[in-house]
């Protein structure tokens, strides 16, 4: 039985670890390196750093990590009140002394308890991974609503705490795509908060809106009034009416002095002179210069995007607990596979068929153990391209009656129908060799590790159960 401390004490093995109530709190000082690998061994993290920049960096590293052991870790701040949005939304509490651990303990325990509910699976796409991360974070912190915060450092002007931390400023617009997917998958609901206009070239939200010359796009211009002298109908820029002797305005046509605006003259408009190209015009063009890529956008061509407050749905919470594998869009885009639901139904029919015949069918599983590493080296498009190639090559090596599905982004199920077990095993081994060769050819620095297993389909068990038994070792 574990010895539970009733008083806050320093660990005997490591003086930067505080132990209390059976939990270990790892303290990070600003003299430390930025590495946060060790935090997986402890229940929570306390950041004690005088430098807010360092604190922000550590928080970004922890929450931006793709291992749930990192990004879900409870993080507390010690003696730091200067931290502002959006980072304040990424921590779980602030302490003014270590003694206050006692006060915050229930909250930390609750987070740790809820984390235990969660199931983590490898995701087919980066998008799916971020979705899993978001719903897991929201579930573990019992957050129903996530409100975006205005953030100068955000690429789109708004920061969604656990979402934005995964992207560089240049890529932050992808947060909006992920929210769109989450909404389509009914994992969240959204309500309007604001609109932003993004650069048409790089999707940055930082624009400098300038009035520019319609001819040369320079903003170097001077404006002056147009003056209309009523008695003689002379109309011209005010410079025509000025003299070098006094401040009076004299009409260049009739030499009369302008006396009273509205009575003998008025100023019906203005005219602008471009100091760069000399063009004279009345109406400026308004252009939005991107402060990120310097692209000068026409304002009507800016991408308008909606910023929403998001709320996790019941489905979102269930998916966090059961494990979010992939977006339906990811699967639909991979040719030669069927959805897991469809696969399960077809397996059910196969079991029924086997009950009527003496046929022999098999169920094979292929599991890429280090899929996270592989996917992290690929863009989403590349992932999909690779998976498409992979499925096409697998298809070439198996009978056409076989059915393929993704159980997760790292796990493929194949129903090899009407084949002896021996041949099914040989075919599966061939596929493993093929996958290994394909991945190693494309990712030279990566060591491929593929587990596989083939079992005959039993006509006594349900198809669903047989799938669960086959994949249980990998999850």
């Amino acid at each position: 039985m574990k010895n539970v401390n009733t008083e806050i004490s320093t660990s005997k093995e490591n003086d930067r670890v505080i132990e209390y109530a059976g939990l270990s709190f790892y303290i990070i000082y600003n003299t430390d390196s930025l590495k946060t690998d060790d935090i997986v061994f402890y229940d929570a993290v306390i950041i004690q750093a005088g430098d807010p920049e360092f604190t922000r960096h550590i928080i970004t590293r922890i929450r931006g990590h793709f291992n749930p052991e990192h990004y879900l870790k409870p993080v507390l701040l010690l003696n730091q009140s200067s931290l502002k949005d959006p980072y304040i939304n990424l921590i779980d509490g602030t302490l003014y002394s270590l003694e206050q651990i006692k006060l915050i303990l229930p909250s930390v325990q609750n987070i740790l308890l809820r984390i235990k509910d969660l199931t983590f699976t490898s995701s087919l796409s980066y998008e799916a991974l971020i979705i899993q991360k978001t719903i897991s974070f929201m579930y573990s912190r019992n957050i129903d609503k996530m409100k975006p915060n205005v953030d100068f450092n955000s690429g789109i002007g708004y920061n969604y705490p656990i979402l934005s931390v995964n992207f560089s400023r240049k890529e932050e617009h992808q947060v909006l795509n992920i929210i769109k997917t989450m909404t389509e998958e009914k994992l969240i609901t959204k309500e309007f908060h604001d609109s932003v206009y993004l650069c048409n070239n790089c999707t940055s939200g930082y624009m400098s809106y300038r009035e520019v010359c319609p001819k040369c796009n320079s903003s170097n211009a001077v404006s002056q009034d147009i003056v209309h002298h009523f008695p003689c109908s002379y109309v011209g820029p005010i410079e025509d009416f000025k003299n070098q002797i006094d401040d009076e305005l004299n009409c260049p046509k009739c030499n009369k002095t302008l006396r009273h605006i509205g009575v003998d003259y008025d100023k019906p408009s203005i005219v602008n002179d471009c100091l760069s190209c000399g063009h004279r015009y009345q109406d400026f063009n308004v252009k939005a210069k991107c402060m990120n890529c310097q692209f000068d956008n026409e304002v009507e061509e800016l991408k308008k995007s909606t910023i929403n407050v998001i709320s996790i749905t019941k489905k979102g919470q269930v998916m966090a607990v059961n494990g979010y594998v992939t977006t339906s869009r990811d699967l639909q885009e991979i040719k030669g596979t069927v959805k897991l639901d469809t696969f399960t139904t077809m397996l059910k029919y196969e079991v029924e068929r086997l009950k009527q015949t003496d046929g022999k069918s098999n169920l094979a599983v292929l599991h890429l153990k280090n899929s996270g590493e592989a996917y992290s080296k690929m863009t989403t498009d590349l992932q999909k391209t690779m998976l498409n190639f992979l499925i096409q090559d697998i298809r070439k090596n198996i009978p056409t009656s076989s059915i393929i599905t993704f159980y997760s982004s790292s796990t493929i199920l194949i129903s090899l129908n009407d084949l002896p077990l021996k041949i099914a095993k040989r075919l599966t081994q061939d596929i493993v060799d093929l996958m290994t060769a394909l991945i190693e050819t494309n990712f030279k620095d990566m060591v491929v590790s593929i587990d596989h297993s083939v079992k005959p389909v039993s006509n006594k068990l349900s198809g669903e159960l047989q799938i669960q038994q086959l994949v249980k070792d990998y999850f």
Binding site: P214, I226, H228, F230, P231, C232, S233, Y234, V235, G236, P237, D240, P252, K253, G262, D264, D266, P268, S269, V271, R280, Y281, Q282, D283, N285
Partner: protein
């Protein structure tokens, strides 16, 4: 039947002396001025063209060689719907070195949106808008202020132009260096629309197509139409643009003449315009136009009529001819009518029929004979044949009454200063200063 028989007997009984006594107005003024003089003027014009053909050819070569920038200014209010057509019309021009400047004088429709779109797409070169209407003169002057060309062309937005019109209207400046302004040949586009537009087409044929060739030939051409006129930029600079209207096109022509420059009419520089399609609208338009004769000829530029330092005989003749035939004879016609009523009360019907016959006959002869002198027509002459008799009523009565009212109102009440065509804020100053 007996009436017709009596009328024929009356005609047969008329000797030369009696004819002259009864129809003196027709013979002395109308036939002499609008037939004989016109015919002589047209013949002289043709002769002049032939004699000076080499000079015209050299002018054309020089124009093409120099290829000067021409600034086309189009002032107007609520003209947005016409601008695109105008732009397309100009894009077909044989002469392409022009800048197009549109001035929106306080439009309250979608004109600014249309013009800004055209400007953005490079179909017009400059667009200026005054939120508050200042009047046509101020809008034209605003455009003039920002022109860069050697020549200025003033257009109306609702007109369209022959594809060589710009070239033809610029050409006279290279023919004679003393020419300061050139008027284009305005024809009626909608002559088929209604009776009143057809009658106006005949009127334009006579007064513009023929009348201005003749007055130009004699050096007394006095009005460059606002719909299509060209000016030397340096001359416009000298006279400092347009003054307050209405009637500013006639006014600027006088200003150019007074500055010592010639005014020329270019019959081949053709512009088509839509004229008023009801008698009511026409009466309103002419009422405005006719007032300007009193305002500008008799008041503002009356100095032309008196010997002074800048006296010019040709300008005097130009003015005198204008005042004589439009103002004096207009009133004299009433004396003629009274003379007939008093002295020939029993023959009034016969006299009116004879007058109708005389004017109609002259109208037909002019249509056919003068038609030979026209190098460009937008309608076949035969189309107008049935309408010639009606011209007596249209010109002799309808327009005369409108003109009489206009002269009366301007002479005694200075009505032009109250014309809403021009904003009151400027008209009060013009009235105060007698402009």
């Amino acid at each position: 039947m007996s009436t017709i028989g009596e009328f024929i007997s009356y005609i047969q009984a008329l000797g030369p002396a009696k004819f002259l006594r009864v129809f003196w107005f027709f013979v002395i003024f109308e036939f002499f001025r609008y037939f004989l003089l016109d015919l002589v003027g047209l013949i002289l014009h043709r002769v002049s063209l032939w004699v000076n053909r080499k000079k015209w050819k050299r002018a054309s070569e020089q124009l093409k060689k120099e290829n000067p920038l021409v600034s086309i200014i189009v002032p107007g209010k609520n003209e947005g719907k016409h601008i695109f057509k105008l732009v397309k019309s100009l894009s077909e021009q044989t002469y392409q070195n022009y800048e197009l400047i549109i001035i929106d004088d306080g439009s309250d429709d979608n004109t600014p949106i249309i013009c800004k779109s055209l400007l953005k797409n490079g179909l017009i070169d400059q667009f200026y808008r005054n939120d508050v209407r200042g009047g046509k003169a101020s809008a034209a002057n605003l455009g003039l202020r920002f022109t860069k060309g050697k020549f200025i062309i003033h257009l109306d937005a609702d007109c369209s132009y022959d594809n060589d019109a710009v070239e033809k209207i610029i050409l006279p400046f290279y023919y004679d260096k003393d020419i300061g302004g050139v008027g284009g040949n305005v024809m009626v586009r909608n002559y088929k629309e209604s009776l009143v537009t057809t009658l106006q087409a005949v009127e334009y044929f006579n007064s513009v197509g023929i009348g201005r060739i003749v007055t130009s030939q004699f050096g007394i051409y006095r009005i460059i139409s606002g719909a299509f006129g060209a000016f030397r930029a340096d001359v416009m600079d000298k006279i400092q643009g347009w003054d307050i209207g209405p009637g500013l096109d006639g006014d600027i022509t006088v200003k150019i003449r007074k500055s010592g420059y010639k005014i020329h009419f270019a019959p081949e520089a053709v512009c088509l315009t839509s004229v008023p399609n009801t008698f009511k609208k026409l009466a309103k338009q002419r009422y405005r136009w006719d007032k300007s004769l009193i305002r500008f000829r008799l008041r503002k530029h009356k100095d032309v009529l008196f010997p002074n330092q800048g006296f010019s005989l040709i300008n005097f003749i130009s003015f005198f001819e204008n005042i004589l035939y439009n103002l004096i004879l207009n009133f004299k016609w009433y004396f003629y009518a009274i003379d007939l009523v008093i002295n020939f009360p029993d023959l009034l019907v016969h006299i009116m029929l004879t007058n109708l016959f005389l004017y109609t006959t002259m109208g037909y002869i002019k249509l056919i004979l003068f038609g030979w002198f026209r190098t460009r027509s937008n309608a076949p002459n035969y189309y107008f044949l049935p309408y010639i008799p009606l011209m007596v009523i249209y010109f002799g009565y309808f327009l005369r009454f409108v003109r009489t009212r206009a002269y009366f109102m301007e002479l005694f009440f200075k009505a032009s200063y109250n014309d809403p065509w021009n904003p009151l804020k400027t008209s009060v100053h013009a009235k105060e200063k007698g402009l």
